[in-house]
Subunit: 252 residues, 2 copies
Amino acid sequence: MMSTKPRDPALICLGCWDQMRMPIPIRGPLSVPFRVCGITQSKMNPNICTICERSFRYVKKERHVSVSATILFADIRGYTDMTERMNQMAVSELVSTFQDRCAEAIWAHDGIVNKQMGDGLMAIFNFPIKNERHASAAVAAAVEIQKSCKSALDKLGAGGKDASPNRLGVGVGVHTGTVEIGEFSTFRSDFTAIGSPVNMAARLESEAGAGEIVVSPEVAAEVAEHMMGATTRVATLKGFEEPVTVHVVAAA
Amino acid sequence: MMSTKPRDPALICLGCWDQMRMPIPIRGPLSVPFRVCGITQSKMNPNICTICERSFRYVKKERHVSVSATILFADIRGYTDMTERMNQMAVSELVSTFQDRCAEAIWAHDGIVNKQMGDGLMAIFNFPIKNERHASAAVAAAVEIQKSCKSALDKLGAGGKDASPNRLGVGVGVHTGTVEIGEFSTFRSDFTAIGSPVNMAARLESEAGAGEIVVSPEVAAEVAEHMMGATTRVATLKGFEEPVTVHVVAAA
C-alpha cells in the first residue's frame, strides 16, 4: 500500500515542472516576486501554482489536449436527506470536513481537486503533476478518503440533531482512461476534464454505497495491490449501454 | 416577460456595491490600478469583481451567511450517451456552447454562474448582486437558456456523427428559499451555496426532461408572469420524503 503521509511541500510548482520543465517557485524566498505578481499556490493542489490552474493555454499551447488520467468522484451518501434533518450549521461543518479530508487524501497522492460541488468533488490524477501509476494513486487516495471521512463523519453524526450516524458515509468512484483536459467555456480560465472516462467515474460513484469505493475493470486490472478482499458485482450505469462488472475495494 | 437583452456592462462591481456600498471600478480608466492589483472581473459574472468571488469573508465579515436566493441547475440531457457516440472534439464544442449560452442568459438577469461541472452548472440569483424578484429573474434566465441552447444544440446535433438530434436537449430546475452562502472548505476561497433549497433545485433539474424547466411550487407562486401554459405533475425526489407538485414552465 502506498504511503499515507502528506506529500512534502514542494519549493517549485510540480505542475509547471512536469508539463514545461519550468521552475516556478511557490515556497521560500524565491517565491516572493512571483507572489507579488499573483502567481501563488493553486487551490486545486498546494504543490501546483496559479499558472497551471488558470493558464492552461499558456502551459499546453492548445485549448485542450488528450491525456491518460484517472478520475475520482466522491460524495456524501444520504446528504440531501441529512440536510432536511440537520441545522444549517451542522450541514456547513459536515461539508467543510468532507471537502478538507478528501483534499488532503488527494493531495497526498499528487491528485488535484478539480471541482467541488456541495457534498461532492471530482479529482484528476496525472495532470498536471505526472504520475505513471495514476490509477493506483487514485485508489490509494480513495482508501484514505474513506478512512479519514469515516472517523470524522461518525463524530459529526453523533452530534447532529436527529441524524442517524449509520446513514452517514461517503461513496467513491474511480475510472481511468483518455480524457480531454482543457478549457471548455470561453469565460472561465480554469481547466477541467471531460469525456467518457469522466462520465463513467461519476456513474461508478453513484453506484457506490456509503463507505464503498467502486472501480472499473480497467482500474482493477492496474491496482492489484488494492484488490485484496475486493468484491465484484454487475451494474447497469445510466448512459452506458453495456452492464459493467464493477469492483468494490475493501476500504478498511 | 423580462428583457432578454444582455445586462449593460457596469463600471463598478455590482456585488461590492450591493453588499458593502463600496464602489470598486471594474471597467474604464479608474479600473486600471485595481486590475494591476489583481482585482478584475469575476468569471462568475463580468459585472462583479474578484473581491466578491474570492474574499467572501472580507465582504460579509462571516464565514457564511443565510440569504434568500434562487438556485438554478441546468445540464444536458443524454450527455453521457452522446459522449459515447460523438468524437471528443464534438463533445468539447457541445460543452463549450452549452456553458457559454447558459452564462449569457444567467448574466443577463444578474445571476452568477457559481459552479460548472462538465455538462452541468449551478447559478445563484440575489447574491452578490441583489434583486428582490430573484425567482422571476431565474425563470427568465431558464427560458433564455432553453431558447438559446435549443438552436445551438440542434445545429451541433446535426453535425455530430451518429448523434440523434432529437435526443439533444437541456434540463433546468429552479427552486427558491433560504440558503447558506459562504466558504465551505478551508482551502478554497470561492464561495458557494448549500442547504435544502440547493438540493431541491438539483433534484428538480434531474426531474426535467430535454427542453423542460421544472420549478417548485414556491417558485411557481412567485412568477405568475411565466406560468402561462405551464403544466404540473407530482414527482418523488430522491432525499425528500414528501412527493412534490412540480410545475413545468413552457419554454417556447
